[in-house]
Amino acid sequence: MAQILNRDTALFHFLTRIGDSTLILGHRVSEWCGHSPMLEEDIALANTALDLIGHTRMWLGLAAEVEGKGRSADDLAFLRDSMDFTNLLLVEQPNGDFGQTMMRQLLFDAWHLPYLNALKSFPDPRVAGIAEKATKEVAYHVDRAADLVVRLGDGTHESHTRMQAALDELWPCVGEMFSTDEVDAMLAPDAPKPDRIRDAWDATILPTLARATLAVPATRFTRQGGKTGRHSEHLGHVLAQMQFLQRAYPGATW
């Protein structure tokens, strides 16, 4: 973010951050299609992915509109490189096993819901409107992810071990969700307040982990960088796959 921020450019960054997170998570979840542990999960995972891609179309569509340079949501999704993607590191992490996918989902959803709730009172009605529409679906995502994490955490010895491993693996990506920088500062006091979001997140996560008989990891290690375009190696591979057609056939309509 070399350019000097004003409220409009800050809003653009703010919108791409959330839109990129829903896009990359939707993409990751969609990788499960046809490969999940049971037919009901094939349907449910496709449904989650579909919701997230739907949110992406709204967030990136508005980002493109705010930017006012004639780009579309598709241009933003398919024609930017990783340094311009500002999704959270958490969502680009590989699916791993089904437990890791559901743990990633829960950690994200527990942030996503209060974040959207806060955005419902954003002064720009376009932002508030998208948040309003997305909340219902995301509230369901939280319930579903929490339910599965509890059942698998408190299931067999193997399922418990796998869920704990997933939590330990993903925990360092949690802190980034509550970080702030100049983009958030520029939009203050309208942007969601990290402390409040963290409180709401704790209020979902801590009792859920307790019911799942899972231990909160002790590590203080936190990974950062997604919000400013410094990603893990995983994102480049996601983009290579996702952007293939748009890159190989520039200017074609599909």
Binding site: L23, H27, S30, E31, C33, G34, H35, S36, P37, M38, L39, E40, E41, D42, I43, A46, N47, A49, L50, I53, G54, T56, R57, L60, A73, D74, A77, F78, D97, F98, G99, V150, R151, L152, D154, G155, T156, E158, S159, H160, R162, Q241, M242, F244, L245, Q246, Y249, G251, A252, T253, W254
Partner: protein, 331 residues
């Protein structure tokens, strides 16, 4: 079709006069256009044939997720990604209703999965062909879903109630699938030379396998007569194949694509197109496990099932713990 090689009893079809008792009541109900429901008496052969037909259809739906799922992560726009996700999700839903319909006949979903995973159960040959370019996603929707609709619309009148009702739900969604496929083809045919080349190539590869979807030629499908008498098969394979060709040829013309068949010609006398039969040897090879993707498809399903075992065990164990905890203490 989605159930291409359903072997019913090899015996000659009995006439009504040769039947008595329950069997006669059963056949009379079918002749009168009535439905057979799960608790009704039915001949063993009917039950077995329906289990085969419905489970083959169910397996086809879920294996069918794979070739299309292959392009979800590479769909070219957000809208296309969403539409394809919704479509593949529908196919999983179709699998689910169909497994439920088959379960009404006394077989469990786990048993059906065992049959699929062991290679014993069949599924439609079409899903053993690869989706190599984005145009294949168009071609699958346009041709494969269209063929499915042609076969399944009459099956809404199947004598087996649960299957007929599943077909009603499924057919509604299949027509959306066909439209989105045709729409992809249209965009590509109106597009750049490279897109048009992909579209033609997809048609070249999917044409013959689509014709195979209707099953072997009538002369070779020995078990049709009984299935027709039971009203679980409404049209002959060749009849449906002809109907499909007659519908698709003008669509291909509209798209500006060439059907890969030199012998394709309008025949005034029969009021339909003459066309070359697909290679039936290839068809039998694919049905028996030796198509381009049989091994990958089956391996993907088996892997999903095996990798998911710990999840299913975990959920079952959790449920058992909850049941135990909920049990009132004996007083």
């Amino acid at each position: 079709m989605y159930a291409q090689i359903v072997e019913s009893t090899g015996k000659a079809v009995k006439t009504l006069n040769e039947m008595e008792g329950e069997e006669r009541v059963f056949q009379e109900r079918i002749n009168a256009g009535g439905k057979i429901e799960p608790k009704d008496w039915m001949p063993d052969g009917y039950r077995k044939t329906m289990v085969r037909q419905i489970s083959q259809h169910a397996h086809s739906e879920i294996v069918g997720q794979l070739p299309e799922g292959n392009w979800i992560t590479r769909a070219p726009t957000l809208e296309r990604k969403a539409i394809l996700l919704a479509k593949v999700q529908d196919e999983a839903g179709h699998g689910l209703y169909l497994y439920c319909a088959a379960e009404t006949l006394g077989i469990s979903r786990d048993q059906m999965f065992d049959q699929l995973h062991s290679g014993k159960a069949k599924y439609s040959s079409i899903f053993n062909y690869p989706t190599l370019t984005w145009a294949d996603i168009g071609a699958v929707g346009w041709l494969v879903d269209q063929a499915a609709i042609m076969n399944q619309v009459p099956l809404q009148r199947s004598s087996y109630g649960p299957y007929a009702r599943a077909m009603v739900r499924i057919c509604k969604e299949e027509s959306f699938h066909q439209r989105q496929g045709f729409d992809i083809m249209m965009k590509m045919c109106e597009g750049t030379a490279a897109q048009k080349r992909m579209a033609q190539d997809a048609l070249n590869r999917f044409w013959a396998p689509s014709l195979m979807m209707f099953g072997p030629p009538d002369a070779d499908s020995v078990h049709s007569a009984q299935s027709m008498a039971w009203k679980i098969k409404m049209n002959s394979n060749d009849e449906l194949r002809q109907k499909f060709v007659d519908a698709v040829v003008p669509q291909a013309e509209f798209l500006g694509l060439t059907i890969p068949d030199e012998n394709l010609a309008w025949n005034d006398k029969k009021g339909g197109y003459d066309f070359t039969d697909p290679d039936w040897q290839e068809f039998m090879a694919v049905i028996h496990g030796n198509g381009p993707c049989n091994r990958e498809r089956l391996a993907a399903r088996v892997k999903a099932w095996d990798d998911g075992a710990w999840v299913r065990d975990g959920l079952n164990t959790h449920a058992a713990k909850k049941r135990k905890a909920a049990k009132p203490v004996a007083g």
